[in-house]
Subunit: 231 residues, 2 copies
């Protein structure tokens, strides 16, 4: 049975890397969830917008599949530009993600959650300082409703390049990153992948394709650490 | 509130028209359902496969929006290559469509169902002659589960060009078309759009982009006839 992972968060989980900037991943054991069924993976996996592109989830899945010799599927639920408030328990994005996961559980073993989000909560100090508490509230509700209480959760730091956004729109991002570090340290089921050295596609908001491939490998590394190498 | 329509069926509802063959539709009142929320419509609307393209649903929505002066949304649930058996009550495709519709009902008024399917049931005589009964069983269950018992349903004939498929894979398509005609005649809430004169994109399986634009207009014409010009 396919091992699957939920993709959740905002644009850097959906993926905005240019498709032409990296070779496509050749691995016939990778799948993506479409209309409740598994289809061969091709990018963009998470078609939230017409300009969706390379996501970190594809190289994560590739590493997972190769290391554990297993068919691996992605459940795309990330949505560009969305804040934690947009992901509120019982809201549209949340309900969609819960249902997709429940539907995927019929035809796969959901092995974990891949989360990348927080740019939209870096715009005000109030949202940034309360990020950790608000994130955990949503995550725990989602896990419970999906029957994934014991599933590993991998989150990723926001890009350091947010400091260079011309309008400083995300200027409180270090507070969100701090919240992510503290949340992961305090939670045995959550691990944090570093964004150290990863670069933007030029807009200082989105990771570029090469960086997303690397980020996915870091997510996988954290997954193996969290699970002591298990699958 | 947005008026919305469910897109359901197989590849010719999902849409396989080449994107470059027709001008894109410019209408800021058109939306598509993504992750439980409404986004500005752009094609492909129904991203079931990497090669999804122009669908008949976009020009239907454009006509609807302009004629009734209302924001109009599409709920993409069609999936290429799928048979009625694949759409069986309680199955993955069915469950996905029911949930999407329920989620859309929170944020729109679902006004009808757009169906195009049957090529996959044209491959054997047994499936083709039993099409009408099996179609209605699924449709009625879906409508009930979605709370859409009184919603108009527009279906479309299969392409006449199926007769020219080199391997005659869909050779029983006239029986499916006959079933669609009879079903529409016997059902006050179902209308059938003709495929007369519409042409293929070259594979004698899929309608081309121009034909899909016209097909969508025919679907809308049938919608107005069915509802006596109401919205």
């Amino acid at each position: 049975m396919i091992h699957s992972f939920l993709m959740i968060g905002q644009s850097n989980m959906a993926g905005r890397g240019r498709l032409s900037d990296v070779p496509s991943i050749k691995n016939s054991r990778l799948f993506m969830f479409r209309n409740g069924r598994w289809q061969p993976l091709s990018e963009p996996v998470n078609c939230d917008r017409p300009f969706a592109g390379i996501s970190l989830a594809a190289s994560f899945a590739d590493e997972y599949s190769k290391n554990f010799d297993v068919d691996t599927g992605l459940i795309p639920c990330a949505d560009g530009g969305t804040s934690l408030d947009d992901w509120g328990v019982g809201g549209q994005l949340y309900s969609h993600a819960v249902f997709q996961t429940q539907l995927a559980r019929r035809v796969s073993e959901v092995k974990g959650i891949l989360w990348h989000q927080g740019e939209a909560d870096s715009e005000t100090e109030e949202n940034a300082v309360t990020y950790g508490v608000r994130f955990l509230k949503i995550l725990r509700a989602l896990q419970k409703e999906c029957g994934l209480e014991s599933a590993p959760v991998i989150v990723g730091e926001l890009g350091q390049f947010l400091a260079d956004m011309p309008g400083q729109e995300c200027k409180f991002f270090p507070l969100v990153n701090k919240a992510l570090v503290e949340t992961a340290e305090a939670s045995p089921d959550i691990a944090l992948a570093s964004s150290q050295g990863l670069v933007s596609n030029g807009d200082n908001l989105h990771f570029d394709s090469e960086s997303l491939r690397e980020f996915g490998r870091r997510y996988f590394q954290k997954y193996t650490e969290l699970t002591n190498g298990g699958r």
